[in-house]
Amino acid sequence: MLCPGGRYWLMLQMSVNSEPSAVPIAPGARTLAQLREGEAGVLDRLDLPEDIARRLMELGFLPGHIIVPARSAPGGEPRVYRVDGSEVALRRETASRLILRASNDPSVL
């Protein structure tokens, strides 16, 4: 789960694409929108224009952070995500641009 005992995990290197189309989503790479409720994922990168990515990063959507989907509005979106000690709701179109790491490194969890 997210930050037991207040441990925050951060990766210092980040990958924000200023041009979203430059790095296509690798086939098989999962996005935040594909996580089930309660299933944790580690954010790898934000496939969004830089200023939008920065805004989300200020809210805690940073590469290396654990994100856990929580409840959603009826119809499945927007969905609330638990990230960096708070809860933030995103629409599916935004969540599907947040790419997760291929494997949930157990050392990170």
Partner: protein, 642 residues
């Protein structure tokens, strides 16, 4: 306050007041992320000695107040400036730009702050401390306030404030703004800075490169670790309540009940209060008429100002009730959940979840609805909501609709006995306004308000009990704004309209309305409105209805010499014999679309920070009303439907 037109009579002077007897204004700015309890602290420190305006030229709200400093040693006035909630100082939004400008002393009319209060939510210190980096790099005396101390404690969190103060090189105060715990430390800090006795210590931890968010976040994490920060356990009650309020079935049901309850209360619950206020205004008007000798000034005072301003003040109970509800919803945290539930539907119209409550409120009155859009952080969505809100069928349209429908539409059963033609026509007008609103929203979002795909981001604050203190301050605040309006712009328009209707004087008597200036204007505009099926009498009515839509009913009563109410059978007959059916239906359509309400125009000016948007809105709505009324009249006249 160079640009503030709202505060002529207000108690707090913000401009660097000329030094009188050695006193000097000491300016302290409050800054913090959204949901950190900034406004609660501001209210705590200033109480009622505050006022709300907009920063010049922008839609960002500016709250300024005098701190309630006590102590004999205090020779300085401490003025507090509440800045918008921001996560960083990167100027990407209007809020961040305003915050930067104020902190740098570049905001016209706002003096550069002498000291800062940085307020952070200590239940989420890791993320909130990120804002400390750019703030501390400004090298101004800063008190770092850790708010929500009660939550931190009850949920098992911990922080060493002394250690944190050493690391940051700034004093740290652990407080609960909602409960008032620890607030004295904030006053002590302001006393120290205003006396000039506070010195800056260099931070032990070097500040990170501000542009690099992951580095800043890591810095905040290291600071927290150094100060033995232990994050509190997740809020159990919030999770439990969310499992009900965001339940797939119970959630939407509760949402509908809440919305219906709000709607019902502002519509019908406020009615006895409004009727009472109306009666009070009428009785007092008659009393004034009784004690003053008859003169043209008595007429101006009683028939013009008293009843005109009274007609606006009557809406106060509705506005207060709506803001009581919105206050409870917002302070408790439910508003964010309601916005989440409404978002999918609203996004189909190019809007977002937070537009829902304001738009529903606009069915009662567009004025409080537009004031309620302040809960929408996204500026473009907020502007779109403001621009479409007056299309919603407000209660001031009802007297006009009732009169015309009763006069021209036979009450034949349409769907069974309960739902007749008249009810159908009324429903049709509601639908018409709604369709115009969503069509306009789509038009706006695909043209001038085309946003650079700003994503919908909604923070879910934990549930909290709303405090009586914050609710009552909010109500007082909104009433002040509304009444100031009634006393300034609206008063002026009423006097002008009265002059038009009562001059030129003939033999010391006011003229027949046909020969008054208003009548002359009515005749002058007749050629322009004739294609709509309106005559000069309707023209006068339209001019008078600029004050408020329902005024046309009284004006038409005066013109036709009948009782000026929507239930008046005499007035209905007079209209039937004077107006064509096409003109009558066109009049309904005109009222559905036109922005015939100076209170709305005034509040849009205030909320958007200038005349540009109300001017565009008025022109657009009037144009739409004219064209649609023209088409309606031509269709009805051509006899397709007969």
């Amino acid at each position: 306050m160079s640009e503030c037109h709202d505060c002529d009579g207000c108690a707090v002077a913000v401009a660097p007041t000329p030094a009188h007897k050695g006193a000097r204004t000491h300016v302290v700015a409050i800054i913090g992320p959204p949901n950190s309890g900034k406004s609660t602290l501001f209210n705590r420190l200033t109480g009622l000695r505050q006022k709300v305006a907009n920063f010049p030229g922008v839609t960002v709200e500016q709250r300024v107040g005098k701190a309630k400093m006590n102590g004999a040693s205090n020779h300085h006035d401490v003025v507090l400036v509440d800045l918008p909630g921001v996560y960083s100082l990167n100027p990407r939004s209007e809020d961040e730009q305003v915050t930067r400008d104020v902190l740098a002393g570049n905001m016209p009319g706002v003096p550069k702050p002498d000291a800062l209060l940085l307020i952070l939510d200590c239940t989420n210190l890791g993320r909130h401390l990120v804002l400390a980096a750019p703030i501390l790099s400004l090298k101004l005396p800063t008190l770092v306030i850790l708010n929500m101390a009660d939550d931190l404690k009850s949920r098992g969190g911990h922080v060493d404030t002394a250690e944190l103060a050493t690391e940051l090189g700034s004093p740290v105060a652990l407080i609960s703004a909602a409960k008032g715990q620890g607030v004295e430390k904030v006053f002590q800090f302001m006393e120290g800075t205003s006396a000039g006795t506070t010195s800056l210590a260099p931070p032990r931890m070097e500040l990170p490169v501000l542009q690099d968010i992951p580095r800043c976040r890591q810095w905040a994490h290291d600071i927290g670790t150094g100060a033995a920060y232990r994050a509190p356990a997740p809020p159990i009650w919030t999770r439990r309540l969310d499992s009900v309020f965001l339940h797939p079935i119970a959630g939407p049901l509760i949402f509908l009940i809440v919305v219906a309850g709000v709607f019902q209360t502002i519509f019908t619950g406020a009615k006895p209060l409004m009727d009472g206020l109306q009666a009070l205004i009428q009785t007092s008007g008659q009393w004034i008429e009784h004690i003053l000798p008859p003169s043209i000034f008595r007429s101006l005072l009683v028939d013009g100002i008293w009843s005109g301003v009274g007609a606006v003040i009557v809406f106060l109970p509705q506005i207060l009730l709506l803001f009581l509800f919105i206050g409870i919803l917002e302070d408790s945290g439910y508003l964010a959940r309601a916005a989440l539930i409404a978002d999918r539907t609203m996004s189909k119209f190019g809007l977002q979840g937070k537009s829902f409550i304001p738009l529903i409120s606009a069915y009662a009155c567009a004025v409080p609805a537009i004031m309620a859009t302040r809960t929408i952080e996204n500026k473009r969505d907020r502007l779109a909501t403001i621009l479409i809100a007056p299309f919603m069928t407000c209660s001031a349209r009802l007297p006009v609709y009732t009169l015309i429908i009763a006069a021209f539409i036979a009450d034949r059963p349409l769907l069974g006995r309960l739902f007749g033609m008249q009810a159908g026509a009324l429903l049709g007008l509601y639908v018409l306004g709604f369709v115009a609103a969503i069509a306009t929203a789509r038009l706006l979002k695909s043209s001038i308000l085309k946003s650079e795909r700003v994503p919908f981001v909604l923070e879910m604050p934990p549930y909290r009990w709303p405090t009586l203190r914050s609710l009552s301050l909010r109500l007082i605040d909104r009433s002040k704004i509304f009444l100031r309006r009634a006393g300034t712009v609206i008063l002026l328009v009423i006097v002008v309209l009265w002059v038009l209707e009562n001059l030129p004087v003939k033999n010391g008597q006011p003229p027949e309305i046909e020969h008054s200036f208003a009548g002359m204007i009515g005749h002058a505009v007749e050629p322009a409105i004739k294609p709509l099926g309106f005559n000069w009498k309707i023209g006068i009515g339209l001019i008078s209805s600029i004050a408020a839509r329902e005024t046309i009913v009284g004006t038409l009563g005066t013109i036709y010499g009948k009782e000026g109410t929507s239930e008046s059978e005499g007035l209905r007959q007079a209209l039937r014999s004077d107006l064509s059916p096409g003109g009558a239906v066109a009049l309904l359509v005109f009222f559905a679309f036109a922005m015939q309400c100076m209170s709305t125009i005034a509040v849009v000016r205030r909320e958007t920070g200038g005349w540009k948007w109300p001017a565009i809105q008025f022109a657009y709505m009037t144009f739409l009303a004219y064209i649609c009324a023209l088409i309606t009249n031509q269709i009805v006249r051509s006899g397709i439907f007969t």
